[in-house]
């Protein structure tokens, strides 16, 4: 185990916390959209985001990650998940682990223990980004309006995840189900994405889930 200072970065449940889309007051918009809306948006707020870096070609690294998480290290452009957490490829030496809020510290400790003295880095980036979940039959049309990346099922099967340009900025698109997509966005861009998605999905109808 290295001498890295690992500590609880998440304030207790008593502390006041605001998600990146707090100002949009999504709970007040639940049930106000069109009936049978083509797109349903939900902010998956307050999850634990950890970036993990290491040598993906080293079997010891992949083995230790599997031992700690029970998830195989995903190959390029994929995301793997179980009931609790998801592990996504971001680059040849970089992965993103998303765990339920509150578990960041214990998961990080478990990972550091399993990885031992390997040359690795784990950083808690929970405060810097958030996940937006889009579901519904017209989500693909909304994505097609927004990005130059090919989101046709032939090119974008379930379980794929790509970082790309989207509208006038960048984000990560993850496909987690037939009609379920997730956008991994930066906190400082959240208002822009919120306005963009409202506009882009207006023609199909947008409903909000809490």
């Amino acid at each position: 185990m290295s001498a890295i200072n690992v500590y609880q970065q998440r304030p207790g449940n008593d502390a006041h916390a605001e998600s990146p889309l707090h100002h949009a007051d999504l709970p007040s918009l639940v049930g106000k959209g069109r009936k049978n809306a083509g797109v349903t948006l939900r902010e998956k707020a307050f999850l634990g985001h950890l970036t993990l870096r290491g040598d993906g070609r080293d079997p010891a690294f992949a083995g230790a990650v599997f031992k700690a998480l029970g998830l195989e290290l995903p190959v390029a452009l994929t995301v793997v998940a179980n009931d609790e957490m998801s592990l996504q490829w971001l680059g040849p030496d970089e992965w993103l682990l998303i765990v339920p809020g509150g578990q960041e510290l214990s998961v990080e400790q478990k990972l550091r223990e399993a990885l031992g003295d390997l040359h690795i880095q784990i950083v808690n980036v929970s405060g810097g980004q958030t996940l937006l979940q889009l579901t519904g039959p017209n989500v693909r049309e909304v994505l097609m309006k927004s990005t130059s990346y090919d989101v046709h099922p032939n090119n974008f099967p379930v379980g794929k995840a790509v970082g790309t340009v989207f509208a006038k900025s960048q984000l990560v698109i993850r496909r987690t189900g037939e009609d379920t997509w997730e956008l991994l966005i930066r906190r400082s861009f959240s208002d822009y994405w919120w306005l963009w998605l409202q506009d882009a999905s207006a023609e199909f109808g947008l409903s909000i889930e809490a």
Binding site: L77, G91, P92, Y149, G163, V165
Partner: protein
């Protein structure tokens, strides 16, 4: 739109995801203190500006955020190949036929 093959992502991506970062294969002098002013100035500031084949450094800024090298024709903007940092270019313009390499991973779409 121009498509560029990212050797890390393993697929063709649109050009707007990338940024060019100048000439490739410029090694930093191992002993900067032993360099003359001219040698250091050459390393620091002087770059080739060829008409034809050019080896360049690119970054997949919106995707995997990794640098890689590309061999590009500065006349036609044809990207003949892309290859990871540390690898040697296949297309060098000396002897090798560019025609042959065009069928490789850097091909136009």
């Amino acid at each position: 739109m121009l498509h560029i093959f990212c050797p890390h992502c393993g697929e063709l991506r649109s050009e707007e995801e990338f940024h060019a970062a100048g000439q490739a294969h410029i090694p930093r002098p191992l002993e900067p203190n032993a360099c003359s002013d001219e040698e250091w100035g050459d390393y620091m500031f002087f770059r080739d500006n060829p008409r034809g084949l050019h080896h360049e450094l690119w970054i997949h800024a919106a995707g995997c955020r990794q640098y890689f090298n590309a061999t590009r024709d500065t006349v036609t903007y044809e990207i003949l190949e892309t290859y990871p940092i540390g690898a040697k270019p296949q297309v060098t313009g000396k002897g090798a036929s560019p025609q042959l390499a065009v069928s490789g991973q850097g091909e136009k779409v």
